[in-house]
Symmetry: C2
């Protein structure tokens, strides 16, 4: 019974409670690869792009990549996608953990979910079998409660569970999907899509084996990593993603008080270093991974108790719920992280929306009798998270996301809404990293820091991003605060590479260079994949996402940034710095050209689709 | 004294008899690589594109690639380039042999030649030194005589000599450059450019070492080749390039009687197989190469004596001087090959021009009292070659190339001139391989079979071209007689790869797959080159060539094919088959889009130049 990367895709129709298996071959898998590629294939082929994202017509896809589940560090990733209720366009989010690998062991590379169950259900997928089970008794419960109940019900502690929380049930537009309580597909409101389908969870378990074409080649990379473990991973392991806080704060790139500032005077208190010294009790991992960048924190006493069952906050969470809200109490942030995890809220969108509400409160644009709308108040943060998850009072407005909330509050508030295409901006400052701003504006999923480029990695020959970019023919370092043609080229090339991380099922945090990722992909698939093929796959899928968005009604006017990023910082390390509007616009147009898109409509040209082998998806 | 790939470029001004050395670093070498890249860099930066190609303003470049001279089979290649007197645009041609490797051992990666010597000269480059020497006594002599005289004069039998023959001296527009009498840079009339500069020869000799970053990795590929020698090379070694004659004839793709037919009833008599059985006395090689595809033939008796000093005819020669002229006497063809070698004529252009004259003669469009202008007459062929080389009688007209000759003979003759952009069509039939026709039309150097794609290699999964193309993401075989979007994509991708062979200094006849060529390039340079970087280098240099041609006055109207290819074959295996004019035009437009060129002007867009990192060359 060897399951694994067999090319099987499970189709589930929740309306009719029926299943169907689809077999896929090399041509399908090598054209679309996995993750975003699979998701977009079904969205483009089988969905009306203007359908209501919270209606039964939306198609929700859970998709692994070829590397997911392979015995190599970084293989614990999968993607979830659908039309996003937050952006109204292509929505996708990736998670680490163990769920994706388990799905493969259970016999499927992906699950495609259509329709809506008449009442709450969950899916149980085990060793090639799929079952729809009642979830009425789970509705309204926290994620930890549901994890426990399903585990008991199925009588197997080793099952892996993807689920939404009450926020997803209540169609909060930035509800997330969590996996085994600690691994989040946070962005784009895919939890609300699950909720709209009355689908609370997907439990998976498999005894199958993920087939690897060339295990020896994987072993060699494992060996390389273990030999370089201390040099490459120790720091990251020690401080986790939030270890970057002091650096970003020092350079002026730490989003603070709803992006009004780029530095936070209490940054040290919320850093990964501080966390390691205080509330950290363990370091978690994903499938097969030696890095252990995940945090496990615990707070037993005081006003903000934290249960380690939910792991601990990542950098994005620290920024969004911390500095962005002007909050410096690490325990309160960890508590807020727990509420997001228990209720199933994306911490970035939640934090940015609350920071917006706080700024509106300070500016008199929004009033509340329930909470104190001021930066820096942890109790406001915690109370608002509850109110949002259950759509109570002001929480009902904020549950719509910062864009819709601002539209209700009027034009002045509109300028304070830090979002692109309706998705809240993550914790990286484009006035510090200017190409990243281009990436925010262009991202098909709205502001996103993942499929993107972080300019500060390319400013010196010694930076590892630059060193790895050499393989693509990037020969010279480039300043961070620049949007000239060479920067747009760098952005375009790295973007195509980065999209790969949404396809292959491998984590971008691993220290592999481009040749090593290629080597892993070759070893796993047995195909003689080149970097050209990989980059073109990235461009193909990025273009498919663009195509979906165009069909969903987007235009070049949606490739924009919040006004704030064009306004100079009033103080701090980057005082006076802003994105130059004209340079930004020129860079966008240059990018359109490079990407093969019509600058007037934003649409990919026919020759672009032909070159990317996706004319059939038009 | 380690010379080799040191990045040194020798600049020679023949007008002032001065030399200058230029040092280049990684950024220059990794952006332009060698061969075409170096040539076009100087043409674009330092030459007026509308200057007379036969005037002193033309810049003539001899350029190796990074792999040239490395201890690995296939490394014996270098390129020569200038503005072409045949096309009026970018001209380049590559040769095998030993000269390129010797130039590197003499301390230079390239030679850039400007101006015009007041009287005939040759260059002597040895161990980092360069010298201009009188060549008055060599003028008018055959290449074999000059080879002997220079060797004696310099007192070293191991020197390597690139030279022109009388045809180059007489500015025959398709005069070639020959190396050690047997290795030809045949195309684009670069021999005439040498002649216009009063430069008869360049002799080189070096005791330096070509530095290799990682010799062990090269050794591993050498080992692989030696283990697969029999399986991969024996057939090719046995019959040489002309071993393809029976196949092409059987499928109807053997250019016959000036392309009026695709099969030749006496094809067997001119095949590589027949050659091996009759006049072949040895098999020659290039630097470090185990393939031995080069022919050495000898005919001692009869009307067509052949001296083995000039090697022997390749497939292109067999086609152009043989079937294309309706000539089936292998000895006569070998004799004609010798005349071309001795006088320095490109065999393809010479054969196609003579075939044109023969057809014109048969159709009454051209009369001659000196020769019998009929297909199939070997004596006409041999006599015309002499007349062309020395521009005697009708030869003076034919020395201008088939385009200019046809223009003088009137519109009916114009339709019989098998050329693109003024360069005569090589021996591959685009009605059989339709994407190859696209390549003919688009090639910046005029009709060329090298940087091109041969459709018949992709029609089945078992074909080696298709198997190697998989690495680029070409997933499905494609029919040969098709110009749809998938074919244009295949053409575009393979073209970018093929341009690499004009850059790296490695031979396309070696059985290396794409990963192995990448491996060789990495091993030689020590750079972590990806296939992406290689393909983008191909696109960069192809775009530079386009840019030069646009500046020289070319427009999309020049991306055309001879009318004959749109007319169906009257008989034979491909009876009734022709290129569909509308499909061809659509394919061209699709290609323009993929290449990032403005379909109206044919010019690369600014964003294309930016993406390819060559905005500075505009």
């Amino acid at each position: 019974m060897p399951y694994g990367y067999t090319g099987k895709i499970l189709h589930v129709d929740l309306s009719s409670a029926t299943f169907r298996e689809e077999e896929t071959g090399e041509i399908f898998r090598r054209r679309f690869w996995g993750g975003w590629g699979f998701i977009l294939y079904y969205l483009l082929r089988e969905m009306d792009p203007i359908a209501d994202p919270l209606g039964p017509e939306n198609i929700l896809v859970f998709a692994t990549g070829p590397i997911t589940g392979a015995p190599i560090s970084g293989s614990g990733r999968h993607a979830i996608g659908a039309k996003s209720p937050l952006t109204g366009g292509f929505g996708a989010s990736e998670a680490g953990g163990f769920w994706g690998a388990e799905l493969k062991r259970a016999g499927f590379d992906a699950i495609v979910i259509r329709g809506k169950a008449p009442s709450p259900v969950y899916l149980w997928i085990h060793n090639g079998q799929a079952e729809i089970r009642d979830a009425s008794h789970l509705w309204g419960k926290t994620t930890a409660e549901v994890q426990e109940l399903i585990t008991q019900e199925l009588g197997d502690k080793s099952i892996r569970i993807a689920q939404i929380g009450p926020a997803g049930e209540n169609l909060v537009r930035y509800a997330c999907v969590t996996h085994d309580l600690r691994h989040f597909a946070g962005r784009c409101g895919l939890g609300a899509v699950m909720g709209s389908k009355n689908l609370r969870a997907i439990a998976v378990k498999g005894e199958g084996k993920v087939e690897i074409a060339n295990p020896d080649r994987l072993a060699a990379i494992r060996q390389w990593l273990s030999e370089n473990d201390e040099a490459l991973l120790a720091g990251f392991r020690h401080t986790g993603t939030a270890g970057i806080v002091p650096y970003l704060n020092a350079v002026g790139g730490l989003p603070t008080r709803n992006f009004t500032l780029g530095h936070f005077d209490k940054a040290e208190e919320i850093s990964g270093q501080k966390m390691a010294e205080t509330i950290l009790i363990d370091r978690g991992s994903c499938y097969a991974c030696v890095v252990r960048c995940k945090r496990v924190v615990e707070v037993k006493e005081g006003p903000y108790p934290v249960d380690p069952v939910y792991g601990g906050p990542e950098y994005e969470t620290i920024g969004a719920l911390g500095s962005s809200c002007g909050i410096s109490d690490l325990r309160a942030i960890a508590r807020a992280n727990q509420l997001c995890a228990a209720y199933g809220l994306d911490t970035i969108s939640a934090g940015v929306t609350i920071a917006f509400a706080m700024e509106c409160g300070e500016k008199g644009l929004l009033k509340s009798e329930e909470v104190n709308l001021r930066f820096g108040d942890p109790d406001t943060l915690l109370k608002l998270l509850e109110m949002i998850a259950f759509r109570r009072g002001l929480g009902d407005l904020l549950a719509e996301g910062v864009k819709r909330a601002a539209e209700k509050l009027g034009p002045e508030a509109r300028n304070l809404a830090m979002e692109v295409k309706g998705q809240e901006v993550p914790m990286h400052e484009p006035r510090f990293k200017q190409a990243l701003g281009l990436g925010y504006a262009l991202s098909p999923t709205g502001a996103d820091h993942n499929h993107n480029v972080h300019d500060d990695g390319y400013v010196k020959e010694t930076r590892s991003s630059f060193r790895k970019a050499r393989a693509l023919g990037i020969l010279e370092p480039l300043p961070r605060n620049d949007l000239g043609p060479a920067k747009v080229r760098l952005f375009f090339y790295e973007l195509l590479w980065q999209i790969g991380y949404e396809l292959w099922g491998i984590c971008r945090f691993l220290p592999y260079d481009k040749h090593q990722v290629q080597e892993i992909l070759q070893a796993v698939t047995g195909w003689d994949v080149s970097t050209w093929e990989m980059m073109k796959a990235g461009q193909r899928i990025y273009t498919m996402a663009r195509l979906f968005n165009i069909k969903a009604g987007f235009s070049p006017a949606d490739d924009r940034l919040p006004e704030r990023f064009f306004e100079p910082f009033p103080e701090g390390p980057l005082a006076g710095e802003a994105i130059d509007r004209e340079a930004f616009q020129k860079a966008l147009e240059l990018f359109y050209g490079m990407a093969g898109w019509d600058p007037k409509t934003g649409e990919p040209y026919l020759h672009t689709l032909a070159e990317l082998d996706i004319l059939s998806l038009l």
